[in-house]
């Protein structure tokens, strides 16, 4: 049975996803609150997998919580922390619990996180993980053995439309499609003209593209991300727009900018939907949607 997220992707509607971050610890209060807030407002909710290589409550645990609350989860799986046995085992488990959407990621490098001496596994890469999902759907595992009960997933990946140089990124994008990616959630984008150029290229392929919308909570954050986060570029006019309002108004301005971008992407049919990343401010995602007129 196709997941409700897959049905949404194939329905032709403008698809909205967002994400929640599990806690460092066993106190789930905040993440459960965020799930409650988002589950009926978006088509699916991603649960991050030790994002930025910081050890946390697992993605699969967050996905189960979403299921329990009647929401639609997207399991984020990075290749950083598990070898091919563990990755396949988790896909089996997810499948038995009705978690049928997976986002296949390479994963951030270990040294950027909070367990700097850990071993980065990378037994598989994001492409090989996508292929593994498709292989397991055919009833086989990577060892060539038969599975007693196959899996079924709507599998996706990421792409960075602002990467420099862009061509290697586009080559990998196409390889991911060949490997079985049905949808992409992009790295945060801010320059809609640039993004439209990327989309012109992407439209050649039978995949759904959800534009990554990262909430800008201050001018400082916008500058920091442009300087430090690979593949993120916030144009100066947006930084100026944020800087022009008093500090206490910056978050509202960020919400307005995100809403405006989403509205334009939808109105001009630039892409198939958006993936909203509020990074620690998940409670304002409904406000972003309202600002977008959704």
């Amino acid at each position: 049975m196709a997941s409700s997220f897959k049905e949404a992707l194939n329905s032709g509607k403008f698809v909205i996803t967002s994400e929640v971050a599990p806690p460092k610890g066993t106190n789930l209060e905040k993440v459960l609150h965020h799930i409650e807030l988002l589950k009926d407002k978006v088509d699916a909710i991603n649960v991050t997998d030790h994002q930025s290589s910081v050890m946390r409550f697992p993605s699969i645990g967050g996905c189960l919580a979403i299921k329990e609350k009647g929401g639609e989860p997207i399991l984020q799986m990075t290749c950083r922390d598990r070898n091919r046995l563990a990755l396949q085992a988790e896909l089996l488990f997810a499948s038995t619990r009705g978690i049928n959407n997976v986002l296949c990621l390479t994963g951030d490098a270990v040294p950027v996180g909070d367990h700097k001496e850990a071993k980065g596994v990378f037994d598989l890469d994001s492409l090989q993980l996508l292929k593994t999902v498709r292989l397991m759907e055919s009833g086989k595992d990577l060892g060539g053995n038969d599975l007693d009960g196959a899996v079924e997933f709507c599998a996706g990946a990421t792409v960075t439309p602002e990467a420099q140089p862009l061509e290697p990124q586009l080559i990998k994008f196409e390889k991911k499609i060949e490997a079985g990616a049905e949808f992409f959630q992009t790295q945060g984008i801010y320059d809609l003209d640039n993004f439209a150029k990327f989309m012109k290229h992407a439209r050649q392929f039978p995949v759904k593209i959800l534009a990554g919308i990262i909430l800008l909570s201050s001018a400082r954050m916008a500058k920091f991300m442009t300087a430090n986060v690979p593949g993120i570029f916030v144009p100066q006019n947006l930084i100026d727009e944020l800087a022009a309002v008093p500090k206490e108004e910056m978050l509202n301005k960020g919400i307005e900018i995100a809403g405006r971008m989403i509205a334009t992407l939808k109105k001009d049919s630039i892409c198939d939907g958006v993936h909203i990343m509020a990074i620690g401010k998940e409670e304002v995602v409904p406000d972003i949607l309202a600002a977008a007129g959704l």
Partner: protein, 214 residues
Amino acid sequence: MKAITRQKPFEEIKQQLDSFNRVFIIGCGTCATMTKTGGIEQVLEMKSQLQKIDKLVSGWTVIPIACDEMTEPAMKENERAIQNSNCVLIMSCALGVYRISTYIDRPVIPALDTLFIGVEETPGYFREVCAQCGQCIIGETAGICPITACHKGLVNGPCGGTNNGKCEVDKEKDCAWTLIYERLKAQGRLDLMRKYQPPHNFQASPRPRTVKIT
């Protein structure tokens, strides 16, 4: 090919020598001399540092190539001084330490950490270019090994952490896949980058790896 080594912090060496009063020091005339970690100069410096912490240095030598079989006669030549020590402090790569340990009955203590097998790109600048994985794909990656040169060892193209040709872990490090892309593009062979590389066989030659030439 050079085994690239770095001297351990002296505190660690001191701790390892804690129960030994009489020390024989061995350096290596090849890689460790070139990397200035185990040549005559460093061996003499170590001797003086050990004397300052009241160790008795029973003797020292710098073997031409610590990892080869000529190390055995070198050990014989120094038999008396080695017998006169409680342990041997070795300023070579781990291959040398291993080799020496097979010829003597004294405890061997490494003074160096072996970092990687590298090439000298410019005088004094060493780079790791091969991880000895046993499944070479550099014919398809323009001579640059992504398993070694990419921090994550990715074989199917760059990750999202690539940033203007640099790596997310260190702005000074080149992104291996940008380098590979540029070379393949210049050679008109970008189609190779589109090729799917399957998961690596980590048991191509299970550890510990051995080869018998017949």
